[in-house]
């Protein structure tokens, strides 16, 4: 019995973390937030194998597990790194593999990082405003909100009834949707008889893809929140008031302890949920739902508390702490807000 990361996984974590520390410092996040692109970052990550992580070896990938993917997601969250990871490296490859179709060529392009697939799942989870995606033959109509990301070559679109389609970016109307999270970008997709390729009409393929997406967002929050705790603890040790470090005041150190106490069990939860996706099919969906929802709650608490530990500085743009605050906030709402996801968890157990 061994519950935790293997030596290879620790190595993967170290490699990705080192790359991000060197190549995606806060200035790089700011540059992206100011309108730059993430092409260089994604190219570098692809050279590390990040884009190919989940893609089977026979399709040109590395064939690693969802737990490996969660490790990378945690690193990306830790650095609030702009990257099309969630769609291109995780959800699209998962959907393509689960569909049973032959997508070798496309998977090869994804593995190489030369093609990006965005995701538009919101309308199959919870439609807002007048959005919704309907199907007529081999084309789509309607509107998908908050599709991720803004530089995709094609989008994996979930229709209202959870069928999955691939739509070329050229075939859809694309309008940027600004959100509070400037470390990643979302768009509105408009379909008007847009030609689409069906990937699968089996809701299980949609569900499997959604499960892994949710676990990755939870892992991203794990990393982002961990970074916020690290920053808050460092700040509290350095910042002095009343002739002592503020971290020596119980009011402040207890805030830090509460954050750590909330987040540390989340690490095991993310590991388990990611492991379950591949190895424990009976538990996978329920743990994915709970992990998504629980990390959303703990992430929200840490984001607020860590900002407060920084006092007025936490509120400014000078430290850039708000990028992490907003990253946690976006992860909370994407692919199902916690209340909606918990309702799914209840339904899975026959309780709703």
């Amino acid at each position: 019995m061994q519950f935790g990361l293997s030596e290879e996984q620790v190595l993967l974590q170290d490699n990705v973390a080192r790359f991000l520390t060197d190549n995606v410092p806060l200035d790089a996040v700011r540059a992206y937030a100011d309108g730059g692109d993430d092409a260089t970052i994604w190219q570098g990550l692809s050279e590390l194998g990040v884009a190919a992580l989940l893609i089977p070896e026979e399709a040109g990938g590395i064939g690693l597990t969802p737990l490996d993917a969660a490790i990378v997601a945690e690193c990306l969250g830790y650095n609030t790194a702009p990257a099309p990871y969630l769609g291109s490296a995780v959800m699209a490859p998962t959907a393509l593999a689960a569909s049973g179709g032959d997508h070798t060529e496309l998977l090869g392009e994804l593995a190489a990082g030369s093609k990006r697939i965005g995701i538009a799942f919101g309308e199959a989870i919870g439609r807002r405003n007048d959005a919704g995606v309907t199907v007529a033959g081999a084309s789509l109509d309607g509107k998908a909100l908050f599709a991720f990301d803004d530089a995709a070559d094609a989008y994996l679109v979930a229709s209202n009834d959870k069928a999955l389609y691939l739509v070329d970016a050229d075939a859809a109307g694309i309008k940027p949707l600004t959100t509070i999270d400037k470390s990643r970008r979302t768009v509105e997709l408009t379909f008007d008889g847009s030609s689409a390729t069906q990937i699968s009409d089996d809701p299980e393929v949609f569900n499997t893809t959604l499960d892994i997406g949710r676990v990755m967002l939870a892992a991203d929050t794990l990393g982002a929140a961990q970074n916020m705790i690290d920053k808050a603890v460092d700040y509290a040790k350095e910042r002095e008031q009343f002739n002592r470090p503020i971290g020596s005041f119980q009011a402040v150190k207890h805030m830090c302890a509460e954050m750590a106490a909330g987040l540390e069990p989340c690490r095991a939860m993310v590991w388990f949920a990611a492991h379950a996706l591949a190895e424990l099919p009976d538990e996978a969906r329920l743990t994915a739902c709970h992990t998504k929802a629980h990390l959303a709650e703990v992430g929200k608490f840490v984001a607020k508390t860590a900002t407060e530990v920084h006092g007025g500085m936490g509120f400014t743009d000078l430290l850039g702490l708000h990028y992490w605050f907003k990253r946690c906030g976006a992860n909370r709402q994407w692919l199902g807000a916690p209340e909606l996801v918990r309702d799914e968890a209840a339904a899975l157990q026959g309780l709703a």
Binding site: M1, K237, K253, H254, A257, A260, A261, H290, A345
Partner: protein, 398 residues
């Protein structure tokens, strides 16, 4: 990541299940301390190695090699079957491990066997009215007079002192030494003249706690564990032990399942509580937290059997998180029942024999006891996050 325990352990699990299947119905429920029923069940458990498992046979135990996984399987299966998994109490959970660590051979032979067999019941004399979180400031003193220690002072929160045969007690023997270095760890019979036990009724309505007063209590000199002045070290070795055992996620899971069942049967205006989205969401929030703590526990277990896996912080947070979670869980049960949730004692509308109410209050007691949540937060921040300590002020310096 490998969550299987392997065939050897699965065979062991099957063995435990068979025992529970064959004998589980003989397990006592709510039996009094030292009742024949409890003692004979305890004996049966020890014979099968399901409690006192690693205590050497010479001291009345089962004598197995320590095996963390087997211990865990036993705990899981007993919790799952809701069968009494053996006696607890501070003698068994705290004194026995201490004696095994630092007791003399004579002390081990004299005390361990009757203690683990439930024939000798202990209470713990640590806290005092003026020494709670700052335990090392305790003032109960013991002075050597010939071959005897003479103990004077007062203890508080002495659980089961009114039922206990013996007490293990922290006393100040070196009044001139720094506060942590002047304490010794004594054992003495509660029948010794000069001991007065006054019950302290707690919020659940039970008088399990006591105030215990010592007036010229004479204790044979050799009834000291460890050396003179080493009592703080002796006591601390097992305080960690106590914290680890509070808020066990396996038990919490059992309670969560009971709560889910309760929500399926309780109704308001004819609607099952589980069908009410507000209450159901609260249940799901708790379920998510229970899950996180269960996986945290798996990680801790794994760190104990695999070299080089760090779970220090994961371990440090279990008492704080586990007890708060349990308190919230029991509180939700009361909330879903509304006014019915107030029912207590002889009220005919009481559910689960009043366990939701008593556990709700009991876990508030555990949030405070065994190192308060605030002390836990000091430990997590200072030892886990390496944050600076609160400056210490000497009396009169301000």
């Amino acid at each position: 990541m490998d969550l299987s325990f392997g065939p050897e352990y699965e065979a062991f699990r099957a063995e435990v299940r068979e025992f529970l299947n064959d004998h589980g119905d003989k397990a006592p429920r709510n039996a009094a301390l030292k009742s024949d029923e409890l003692i004979s069940w305890q004996k049966r458990l020890i014979e099968h190695g399901y409690t006192a498992r690693t205590i050497p046979e010479a001291y009345g135990g089962f004598g197995a090699e320590p095996d963390i996984i087997k211990s865990r399987i036993i705990a899981e299966e007993f919790a799952d079957a809701r069968v009494n998994s053996g006696m607890g109490g501070q003698g068994i959970s705290m004194l026995v491990p201490t004696l095994l660590e630092v007791g003399t051979e004579a002390q081990k032979l004299e005390f361990i066997k009757p203690t683990i067999h439930g024939e000798m019941v202990w209470c713990q004399g640590y806290s005092e009215p003026g020494a709670g979180s700052d335990l090392a400031s305790l003032k109960t003193r013991a002075e050597l007079d010939g071959d005897e220690w003479v103990v004077n002072g007062q203890k508080i929160w002495t659980s089961t002192a009114h039922l206990a045969d013996w007490i293990f007690c922290l006393v100040r023997t070196e009044p001139d030494a720094p506060k942590h270095k002047g304490i010794s760890f004594l054992l003495f019979s509660m029948d010794t003249p000069g001991i007065e036990v006054r019950p302290l009724v707690d919020m659940t309505g039970v008088a399990n706690f006591n105030e215990t007063f010592f007036t010229d209590v004479r204790v044979p000199k050799q009834q000291i564990v460890g050396n003179r002045g080493d009592g703080w070290l002796v006591a601390n070795a097992i305080l960690g032990h106590e914290r680890d055992s509070l808020g066990d996620p396996n038990v919490t899971l059992t309670r969560l399942n009971a709560l889910t069942e309760l929500m399926k049967t309780e109704t308001v205006n004819g609607e099952r509580m589980i069908d009410n989205p507000v209450y159901r969401d609260r249940l799901m929030q708790i379920q998510g937290r229970v899950m996180a703590m269960r996986f945290n526990e798996l990680r801790i277990l794994s760190s104990r059997i695999n070299e080089g896996q760090d779970a220090k912080l994961a371990r440090m947070v279990t008492k704080l998180q586990g007890t708060e979670l349990r308190h919230d869980l029991e509180g939700l049960a009361i909330d879903i029942m509304g006014e019915v949730g107030l029912s207590y004692e002889d009220n005919p509308y009481t559910r689960g024999a009043g366990s939701w109410q008593s556990q709700y209050m009991f876990f508030l007691g555990l949030i405070i006891g065994g190192g308060t949540s605030q002390i836990q937060k000091n430990i997590i921040s200072e030892r886990g996050l390496d944050m600076p300590k609160e400056p210490k002020f000497e009396m009169g310096a301000l």
